[in-house]
């Protein structure tokens, strides 16, 4: 999976590394901004509702 990604990225090795870091940053940003906030209410350990 990641080996195929590495081969698919264009440019020399240093550029591939930079591209990987950018992709990682984008993935983390999407998770933090949209995915995790939507997921949190569905998880049991986050149930802080006061009776």
């Amino acid at each position: 999976m990641y080996a195929a990604l590495w081969r698919a990225l264009p440019g020399p090795r240093w550029l591939k590394a930079v591209e990987c870091l950018v992709l990682l940053a984008v993935v983390v940003a999407v998770l933090f901004r949209w995915v995790f906030p939507a997921l949190a209410p569905l998880l049991p350990f986050n149930d802080n509702t006061v009776g």
């Binding site: 999976m1 983390v28 998770l31 997921l39 986050n46 802080n48 006061v50 009776g51």
Partner: protein
Amino acid sequence: MIRRLVGGVGELLITAGVLVLLFVAWQLWWTDVVADRRQAQIVQALVDDFGAGRASDVGGDAFPDLGQEKAFAVIRVPRFGADYARPVIEGTGRDVLALGVGHYDGSAAPGAVGNFAVAGHRTTYGRPFHDIDRLRAGDRVIVETAPTVYVYEIRSHEIVRPWQTEVIAPVPDQPGKAPTTAMITMTSCHPTYSARFRYVTHGALVKSIPRAQWRAADWMTVEGAR
């Protein structure tokens, strides 16, 4: 072929592990970063409104039917830090508690006879009541509304199960009894990082001060004069 398959499954498992760790980092760290910023903005907006006389007159006997999720007061607790200030927002739903301290629906207005009951997160989402267990009898809690600043003093604390709602009764722990004094009750989760119990702190109103006569230096001390 087999080797590639096993390698692919391994990569997926590692990815899943990293995702779980990222979620923990988001929950325990990033929600604080976002909520601290947001809550500071709300406090600033409230303070500006109060100063300009824009906010509705909340507190004492005047307590208009606020919409859910409306911020109407600022709570200050010197024990939590000289610059500690959090917005008080109507309701105790998940969205409200991410924006500040939640005021239990139907509980008394700030300064009013009865029980001004509020809830706040112990951890995550800005954790406004993280240090609730550091409050001691005599500590001051200051609730600032547009017309009036209310000074409460902590009297006692208790640790109860989440369903013991009598702690926010008009007379705390005596549901059905008619109140004669103005109380404050602060609730949060207990122990830290658990929702198994509730840490509950009760206090009594000691002073109501019109905004024009409010002198922060006289009242913003950890403990009241005893």
